[in-house]
């Protein structure tokens, strides 16, 4: 998917919502456990109920890998279902991969070619040659971890160099020389909204994928205030706040209500 297609979709749907498909077998409604593939059954209902309100879906691969081969099948069915029925929706494999060049190439192939995701999240620690194999795919996106939404972000991401620049900022500034805003995005946690203004000074054009709104405590209005750019430039992820808002047979209906609340607020910012 190109940047233009993504921005068009955001304007059309008046939404920059990304729904995290973190389907956990211990949290999904009990009645789904009778299905042959409960995880896919859950995702399918969530997708059917929310596809007109969201511009992106983001399965976190951990939740699928936790079930081995069966989980991998659920993930493939989920991405195939989205690509077939809603090809206009941006898909993110939240995998946080990153390895030496020949190995990153294998990961890129897995997510971009075999599963046909539009994007994959990548960890920056191993540097340029661990990221570049992902950037070699046309019309595919690399979403690099910049400043994450968890407490542990404070362990290393705020370490300042001799010029007072934080590691996370150095990661984003350096990586933005590897690829432009047409194939590279950054993860920046909503729980650190005040840093978004600083980040936008160095990284004005790239899209930011923002987790942490909702269950992790981040505020949508704060994120928009500091992080929005001329093309919106934000994908705001919500996972648990939407998909686990209810765990009865009505879960998909309630998920839609929660997604609609966010979309209605987003509409006012576009």
């Amino acid at each position: 998917m190109t940047r233009e297609q993504l921005v068009t979709e955001i304007k059309k749907k008046e939404s920059f919502l990304c729904i995290g498909l973190d389907a956990d077998i211990t949290k999904i409604p009990q009645h789904l456990l009778n299905n042959e593939d409960p995880i896919f059954a859950f995702n399918k209902e969530i997708i059917d109920a929310t596809h007109d309100l969201t511009v992106a879906y983001k399965p976190n691969t951990a939740f699928y890998e936790a079930h081995g081969v069966k989980g991998w099948i659920s993930l493939e069915k989920t991405i195939n279902y989205i690509n077939k029925n809603h090809p206009e929706i941006f898909t993110i494999a939240d995998a946080k991969r990153g390895d030496i060049g020949n190995t990153s190439k294998m990961y890129a192939k897995a997510f971009f070619e075999d599963m046909n995701f539009d994007s994959v999240t990548v960890a920056p620690y191993m540097g340029s040659d661990s990221v570049k194999p992902f950037l070699e795919f046309k019309n595919k996106w690399t979403i690099l971890l910049g400043l994450t939404s968890n407490k542990g972000a404070f362990d290393f991401q705020f370490i300042k160099d001799k010029n007072g620049k934080e590691l996370s900022m150095q990661v984003m500034e350096t990586a933005s020389t590897w690829a432009d805003e047409n194939q590279l995005m950054f993860v920046v946690g909503a729980t650190k909204a005040e840093f978004l203004g600083e980040i936008r000074k160095s990284i004005p054009n790239h899209f930011l994928l923002v987790p942490g709104v909702g269950a992790q405590g981040g505020s949508l209005s704060e994120v928009v205030k500091y992080g929005k750019n001329k093309d919106i430039g934000l994908l705001i992820n919500s996972s648990r706040g939407i998909i686990y808002a209810d765990n009865t047979v009505n879960f998909a209906k309630v998920a839609r209500e929660k997604a609609l609340e966010l979309q209605q607020e987003m509409k006012t910012y576009i």
Copy 2:
């Protein structure tokens, strides 16, 4: 596996070799492609030919994920084969995972419980709460990226803070406060052997998993000179130099010869 068991095995085999099972369908001998599962067939022959010379096997998960569900099946068959026939061998899922707490927990479950690996490699960027879920498993090991063997390591891992300390050193020093040498190891690339001496000043007791000997150009004698501690404290990985030394029907025999060369040299250092 406990540290004591690992050290006992090293002394018994007079080897601290780890063989990387990075089975690439485009590189394995052609005659194996007739097998129902060529990747597993390849690994099985390598394991049968080398198990008495190596103390660890390290499949890199990327090479399996690149084949989707089929690849995941090959990985499960491989780890089950090792655990059943050679339970004394230390197994490493080279996955370089790391995510927010509830997600890292899913990864830990996948590799430690479902697949029963002894250890998994973890990326440090997201900090303590992304690593701790791995450390909660008894008699399992977390192998954190410290200083990697690739060129991209120079992008961020050598950034110095205001006191002149490199990021990689800060990562290892900080992480060594999260867990002791009985469940935490670090990845330190052989291509930067001269830094091993520095690292040993701060991290004297932890085992180091050292990739980069062989295809990537690192020297075994240099690594031992700077990195060895009282319990050896090293696992030296070789992947391509062993498993792809030959691509005829004799590949496993030649792999054994290459592994034997390394083991014979290691023997002199124990």
